[in-house]
């Protein structure tokens, strides 16, 4: 069964460093999303991406965040200068259309020291 994959599973970084979180969505999906979950809190929407551009972003998704689909398979989330409060689990999701079920990846746990 096709699934969304994410790498790495755990990333530890120093405050101020740049990190790139990688996702491989399901191959025939067209809509891509990033969500994050701070430990013990709810899953929060960050950004949606369609047709090689951001379609919507939340207030969390400020200038330090960016997304890219550098090739036909990968979907990345870059955090330019990490802060302690960026420590969270980051989930990638994809679906073939905006009203279809969203399939989530296993997440990347980001720890900022």
């Amino acid at each position: 069964e096709p699934e969304v994959t994410q790498t790495p599973s755990h990333q530890v970084t120093q405050m101020g460093q740049e990190v790139i979180l990688r996702c491989v969505p399901i191959s025939n999906h067209l809509y891509f999303y990033w969500y994050r979950q701070i430990l013990g809190q709810k899953v929060e929407f960050l950004v949606s991406f369609y047709n090689n551009e951001i379609s919507e972003k939340s207030e969390i998704f400020d200038d330090q965040f960016s997304v890219e689909r550098p090739d036909g398979s990968n979907f990345t989330l870059k955090i330019r200068s990490t802060k302690l409060e960026d420590s969270a689990m980051y989930f990638c999701a994809s679906n073939p259309g905006p009203y279809n079920e969203q399939f989530f990846g296993p997440g990347t746990r980001l720890t900022v020291l």
Partner: protein, 114 residues
Amino acid sequence: QQQVKQSPQSLIVQKGGISIINCAYENTAFDYFPWYQQFPGKGPALLIAIRPDVSEKKEGRFTISFNKSAKQFSLHIMDSQPGDSATYFCAARMTTDSWGKFQFGAGTQVVVTP
């Protein structure tokens, strides 16, 4: 603004018992309400979903009850099994939201004891 409120935070139930998780929403434009199940180390996976034109949906041991006037919906897990031990998230989405993003509840950790 917390658009979807979920309770309880955690739940311990004996094998064979009923697990009940509740969610309340604020935005009346929401028209799709899924429940996601998440096991440790895995991403959330769709369990069951409902639209507001029905008051109940059942799939196997899992039932969603929906109360549109109260803006509440709940997940019932009948005959709970140890394999049901997971974190459960309710969510909501608007069809008018072109990009399909979800608003999630805070999650409920369910532990089913043998």
